[in-house]
Symmetry: C2
Subunit: 482 residues, 2 copies
């Protein structure tokens, strides 16, 4: 390293529990490998929550990341009784790190039922949208609702990212895992967009797999996958599933990558019961720092560290999570062993040659899709009522007289209950009441909506309204089951 | 079987693709075992969709199930271009079969990486609610929304069912898998209710596991689980994951059980490419018929068939899905072998002694939870706008002047963007604008809501509204990230 070499600032967040030990191991190894990093230590997590900062992330830490644009962090805890939201999720969202990257690879010496099969895949998970938006309402005293939001733009970003990531690692296939067969709009958006952008990456095979089948296939034949692109909640489950294929969270690094900022962290938690005992496995954070070095263009140091980790594991130096905590190599000795192996090369295991990652560049226009025609054709009014579906149907039909809309149907949790179908659905007090414009074709105005709402308010309690829209002649809402 | 024995009517739906072969095998075995079933054959699936019946289920089939209350069915297809919804899901919902039961057990001769570990668990999945309600909206031309609905009553039903099912099989533990840490209202409802009802089953150990960790643990140490109780979408993924632990969908039976009706079916699809070739593995439907016989109280015939299946597999008679389709035993020969083994008992494998299942009985009151106090304290208005968050915030603040509410914040996909936080969130055209009542404490009336909406309508396009409620002093809505 020459003295004139440009130094790279990185925000370093030790975090909670075993975090400081993991982060310290990674820092020592990165420095020993000669990467020109200037660390800016910053706080987040349990102590910050306890100071009364509801996000768990102080302004100085935000400022540091906004300046360095790169963070390496340990796990953060949300102490019981402080804050409602996860500080880990907050950091991902505030810096719009839309891509969560979780490589899963068989490691030498870490024996699992899959050992010898060469599991080596990367989960690319959308990191900002979906149920992780955390938008929830009690609709009635006994019915909860969470919103699952998926955008075309978010789907295009994560799809292109997955293909670009595959390219950077020289991988030849990308699978897209969704539940589009049940949720054709939300999950279907990722499927459609993925299939639209795939032809831009002609050298990469791609296909769609239903998410439950993906989970099945990951257990049955994980070696068939190279890169899997998926939505946030699915990805949460699939990536934790996958990390178990190769021996657990001790070997599961991750990157959260956005247009501006990237945050590298282990997947595991803060494991307070092992904290400070010099027994934990720091590999996940060390591998996260390898991802970081590649993101920063430091391919040589990254490869040197990866080789050294593999050489160390091949030599049988393993931590307590693998060997048992009474027999494992202490964390600091394990770290020293990796540092001692810098410069050696593994013979038994291939270390991937990685090229710079090209982040996709998309239009910044807020209206990402512009339809030629659009109409409001109805209204779903969610009503809390002790009435039966028949009674409610009769009442709402009457109230809609003289308005531009008529009651089309009532459903309970997606199953049609009015007009009667003979179904045995148990309705409860939560009904969705669908009103459709009487003229066809037609377009509703807000005055029409206000008129109908005012009438419904006379007799019934509503808590949620959705306009029913048509874009370019396509219905923007689903029909009912039954 | 005496001639005077009461005959039991069962609706038999052969279904599509390989369905008729599977169902025929099960029927022959059930009859050979001497169970006094009268089959009512009924139609559903592809041909029905093609006749223009949008649900895929004709009225006669509905009537048959309503009469017999029990159905055994093969897989149903929704042909491309016909119908929007799955006929399988429709049947489950129309008959309110709220509990999906999926046993997963290691089978003799079916070799997997987990062989010899004694995997033997049952996934109990809520079957009606959740994202499977299939309620979706395009909120803007580029933002899709699905509703995840979870009720207290639905959660109590599935929780109690899981414990009762464990009891009936003499199992000693039930785990509840949710994502309550991210979705404290929706997923949190199942967790809370599960923990509330657990003390009613003091002989059964119970605990909660975060769903992603559950997926991880199922791969790492599946033998730790006996019964897992979970929400619909999670259960979809976890149960398909689990079936792969024991060799795939060919051995994965399922039951859909409600207060009135129970439907038994394999988990696998219609696999049209194998249809009519006498090569498929009918075990999943046969095991489904075993579940059915136990549900009907025919414990002896059920045990006899289960023994015969195990004896057959132990003898090395295996189908093409396990041995390769060129070497497998033909479907009819496999069926004959099982029939030939009726009366024999497996020595190497324990066949569970099952007691009658007690379905939980819950109040039928529509208002399942009655709070002592409730207030409407604000409004979330979802707006489509090309403005920046700052511009929109200024405009909405002004419009709310003179109303009983004030603008509190704006978020984009759950991340706060107004008042400004310094976040790098990419907003798009979809904003959630939160208005809160100015008086504290206070209660909003629909007139207040209509007034604010009318003002917003002057300048902005909204497509979705949620009332913000408080029940018994608890906020019925989540705060924002960041």
């Amino acid at each position: 390293m020459s003295a004139s070499e440009t130094r790279i600032p990185v925000t370093l967040i030790p975090g909670d529990g075993i975090g400081p030990e993991c982060v310290s191991a990674a820092r020592r190894i990165v420095e020993a490998a000669g990467a020109p990093i200037d660390w800016e230590e910053a706080e987040a997590g349990a102590d910050v929550f306890r100071k009364g900062i509801a996000s768990g992330v102080p302004q100085e830490t935000m400022d540091s990341i906004a300046r360095t644009r790169v963070a390496l962090k340990g796990p953060l805890e949300t102490p019981v009784g402080f804050g409602e939201k996860s500080a880990n999720v907050t950091l991902r969202k505030l810096f719009e790190t839309y891509a969560n990257v979780r490589p899963v690879r068989e490691m030498p010496g870490v024996v699992t039922p899959y050992s010898g099969r060469g599991v080596d895949l990367v989960m690319v998970r959308e990191n900002v949208e979906d149920l992780y938006a955390g938008i929830e309402y009690m609709q009635t005293p006994s019915v909860a609702q969470a919103l699952k939001l998926i955008s075309v733009k978010g789907s295009e970003k994560i799809s292109r990212f997955a293909f670009e990531y595959a390219r950077s690692e020289g991988r030849t296939s990308v699978a897209c895992a969704t539940k589009a067969n049940i949720m054709k709009f939300s999950e279907g958006t990722l499927k459609r967009v993925f299939e639209q952008v795939a032809p831009d990456y002609p050298e990469i095979d791609s296909w769609h797999v239903i998410v439950d089948n993906c989970a099945h296939q990951l257990v049955k034949r994980p070696e068939q996958f190279e890169v899997i692109c998926t939505t946030n909640m699915n990805g949460d489950i699939l990536s934790d599933l996958s990390s178990a294929l190769v021996g657990g969270l001790g070997y599961a690094p991750s990157a959260n990558i956005g247009n501006e900022v990237a945050i590298f962290e282990a997947v595991h938690g803060s494991a307070p019961k092992y904290a400070g005992k010099n027994v934990i496995n720091p590999t996940a954070v060390i591998l996260s720092s390898v991802l970081m070095l590649r993101y920063l263009g430091r391919f040589e140091e990254a490869a040197a560290i990866e080789h050294a980790i593999f050489v160390t594991l091949e030599s049988g130096v393993l931590t307590g999570d693998v060997l048992g905590y009474d027999r494992g190599t202490p964390t600091t000795d394990y770290t020293d062993a990796i540092i001692g192996n810098l410069g050696k090369r593994t013979e038994g295991w291939a270390i991937r040659e990685v090229k710079p990652l090209q982040l996709p560049v998309l239009s910044a226009a807020p209206d990402y899709v512009r339809p030629d025609s659009r109409f409001v054709v109805g209204l779903d009014v969610f009503v809390e009522s002790p009435l039966t579906a028949d009674e409610l149907g009769a009442s709402l039909t009457e109230l809609a007289h003289g308005t531009r809309m008529e009651l089309k149907m009532i459903s309970s949790r997606g199953t049609k209950v009015y007009p009667p179908t003979g179904a045995m659905t148990e309705s409860g007090d939560h009904f969705r009441c669908r009103f459709i414009i009487r003229e066809n074709p037609g377009d509703l105005w807000d005055e029409d909506v206000h008129q109908l709402l005012a009438r419904i308010s006379r007799r019934h309690t509503w808590m949620h309204i959705e306009k029913l829209q048509e874009f370019d002649g396509d219905l923007g809402f689903t029909r009912d089951q039954g």
